[in-house]
């Protein structure tokens, strides 16, 4: 806390509110680079055994499919990032096998697609 000088203060040790155990499935945050019509990255509880490849075929169409760019995505050319760093997931393996843990953040960039009239929308 903002306590600076109280040597007698008690330890401040309480359970964190957002630990994995409190959710039905681990949370995964996903953002689509250059497409800010979706105002913020999404937060999704996803079973760890979900195949990574199912993101592109089953999960993302439901949340990003409204965008005219979505149908044009070449999934083989998509660049992935994990915590902002370039990252190469294996689509045939599960989220957990790809090393994704509770509250990890991943983003994908779709080269050549930069939103409505190139406005990053």
């Amino acid at each position: 806390m903002s306590v600076v000088s109280n040597p007698a203060r008690a330890a401040y040790d309480f359970p964190m509110k957002d630990v994995r155990e409190n959710f039905p499935a681990p949370l995964l945050y996903i953002g689509w680079e250059d497409h800010l019509m979706f105002c913020a990255p999404f937060c999704l509880p996803l079973p760890p055994e979900t195949p990574f490849g199912a993101l592109g075929t089953a999960v993302l169409p439901g949340i990003y499919g409204y965008h005219p760019d979505f149908a044009q995505i070449d999934w083989s050319a998509v660049q992935w990032f994990k915590s902002g760093q370039p990252w190469t997931p294996d689509p045939s393996k599960s989220l957990a096998e790809n090393g994704l843990q509770h509250k990890d953040v991943i983003r994908f960039r779709t080269p050549g697609l930069t939103g409505i009239q190139g406005s990053f929308s």
């Binding site: 000088s5 945050y29 800010l36 902002g84 009239q117």
Partner: protein
């Protein structure tokens, strides 16, 4: 005949001394530090409480007299407004949504400020500070009441105001103002003063009250203008108190400087994030515009705030750490915030809309560097989609910043095409932030923010459904269950302004032609 007695009249200073004399005392059978344990635990050193000068020397009798006169005027205006159906004189029913935002997100903060000052009024050893905090506590309670009374008139006619207290504790975006004040109230007493009296009242409330109230005046809402003026005269007193208390703390001991600077850094940034909703109100929600957010920022923050921090330099205080980033944000945050509410208008109890063509042009003119490049194409696309019956509603929950609790909508400094992502690891659990400054606030006292009640996470934890809800039942619709828990009247409080009950009623009451019919939307969950 009685002899006339010359009654000696006390001056302000003497009357203040007389009225507050004896309110403080040295304890005899308990140590003072045990009776006032909170005014030392933050590390702030006060050597002479008598140096505390309440700049107004306000006493209870003077307070009642002065405020009583103001109340009479205020309630006379509210009464006249109600009797004359003043709600029909506003420019456009879209304007009412600014009032919804006010009663939902600002008025409850007055109540929190009341509670906060009542609390710290007990904490200070010096009675001058205690009396000042008590007076502010009463002020803030009055603001909460007068705002509620003034806006309750609109509540009779428009949607989106009927459960503002219930919403404040539950609805996702209201966790932003709520967490701001809960963070302040759970700090120590000096941090609370720095957060509320100085950073919020002194540095930022001009940006809140002046645009809101001049917006009300420009849009024909004299009732709101009047409560705004009634509150604003107190605000200027609060602001003066804010600057005086900062100077007092800094003058007492050089060791106080680094602690206070850190609080200023923190609370400037938290206040700036909170004011995002004011930015969008100003640029998007007022049918008649006063000035753009960017212009308001330049006048009230860059000019006035800049001068303030130059003035405080002699105490060793520098401008807040996030100052530069906040100034850069003036070109972006209103557009990013309104787009966010447009995205999530299925779950927000006020209406949003695509700006009309002349409003888009106004925004292009006010934001020549950014609006056409980044934001206009988005609005034109959404406008065309809505015309085809495909009004966009984002149905998936967003990622939030752990500190300010705003969805992660802010972009990188210098690059509005990239969302700003930051993260920290705390005992193996990841936490995410919208900016370096929100991350910095978390990293300094993570124990506090790992307890944050983040609405999105709470929904996923199952804590935002009414008791007895079965999320495993067939056809369960989580959004509808959450809106039921919120007490949102689906189809009346939420969704687009075009086609809303507010829009239709306003036209009917004024005898205007009925609004053009809206193409049926095809979005799931958005059917009306």
């Amino acid at each position: 005949m009685d002899t006339r007695v010359e009654k000696k009249k006390l001056g302000l200073k003497e009357r203040y001394a007389a009225m507050t004399r004896g309110l403080g005392w040295e304890t005899s059978y308990q140590p003072m530090d045990k009776v006032f344990p909170h005014d030392k635990y933050e590390g702030i050193k006060i050597h002479d409480w008598d140096k505390w000068q309440d700049p107004f020397r306000l006493t209870m009798d003077a307070y009642w007299k002065y405020q009583g006169e103001k109340e009479k005027k205020l309630y006379a205006v509210i009464e006249a407004f109600a009797q004359n159906n003043g709600q029909l004189g506003v420019t456009d029913a879209r304007y009412i949504n600014a009032l919804k935002l006010f009663i939902q997100g600002v008025t409850p903060l007055e109540y929190y400020a009341h509670r906060g000052f009542a609390h710290v009024g007990r904490q200070f050893t010096g009675e001058g500070a205690r009396v000042a905090a008590q007076m502010q506590s009463i002020d803030e309670l009055r603001h909460y009441q007068t705002e509620t009374h003034a806006i309750s008139h609109y509540n009779k006619y428009f949607n989106g105001m009927h459960e503002s207290n219930h919403w404040f504790d539950r609805v996702w975006y209201l966790s932003v103002p709520k967490s701001f004040f809960e963070d302040a109230c759970t700090g120590g007493p000096f941090e609370f003063l720095t957060a509320v009296s100085f950073s919020f009242e002194y540095v930022l409330t001009n940006l809140l009250f002046v645009p809101f109230m001049s917006g009300a005046a420009h849009n024909g809402d004299m009732s709101t203008v009047t409560f705004g003026f009634s509150a604003q005269s107190d605000e200027s007193r609060h602001m003066t108190l804010g600057i005086e208390c900062i100077k007092f703390i800094l003058e007492q001991d050089p060791d106080n400087l680094p602690i206070v600077q850190r609080w200023i850094d923190k609370w400037f940034w938290r206040g700036y994030r909170l004011l995002t909703i004011v930015a969008m109100m100003q640029d998007y929600m007022l049918p008649k515009r006063v000035m753009s957010w960017k212009e308001a920022w330049e006048m009230y923050a860059e000019e006035n705030g800049g001068a303030l921090f130059r003035d405080l330099a002699r105490y060793g205080i520098r401008e807040p750490a996030g100052w530069k980033q906040a100034c850069e944000g003036k070109d972006h945050i209103s557009h990013q915030a309104w787009a966010t509410f447009y995205n999530y208008n299925g779950a927000a109890p006020f209406h949003t809309w695509v700006p009309k063509e002349e409003e888009l042009n106004w925004l292009s003119e006010k934001y020549p560097e950014t609006f056409d490049k980044y934001y206009r194409p988005r609005w034109e696309f959404w406008r065309d989609q809505a015309a085809e019956g495909k009004r966009f509603y984002n149905m998936t929950l967003p990622m939030l910043c752990t500190t300010c609790q705003v969805p992660m909508l802010f972009t990188e400094e210098g690059d509005a095409s990239k969302i700003c992502y930051r993260e920290s690891d705390y005992f193996g659990n990841k936490y995410h932030f919208c900016s370096d400054h929100c991350k910095g606030i978390f990293d300094h006292e993570p124990e506090k923010y790992v307890q944050s009640w983040l609405p999105v996470h709470q929904i996923y934890q199952g804590n935002c459904f009414k008791p007895g809800t079965d999320p495993t039942a067939e056809g369960f619709n989580p959004l509808m269950a959450v809106l039921d828990y919120y007490h949102v009247n689906v189809g009346r409080d939420n969704f687009d302004f075009e086609g809303s009950e507010d829009q239709k009623n306003f036209a009917a009451w004024r005898g205007d032609p009925p609004p053009a019919p809206v193409a049926a939307t095809t979005e799931p969950g958005a059917a009306k």
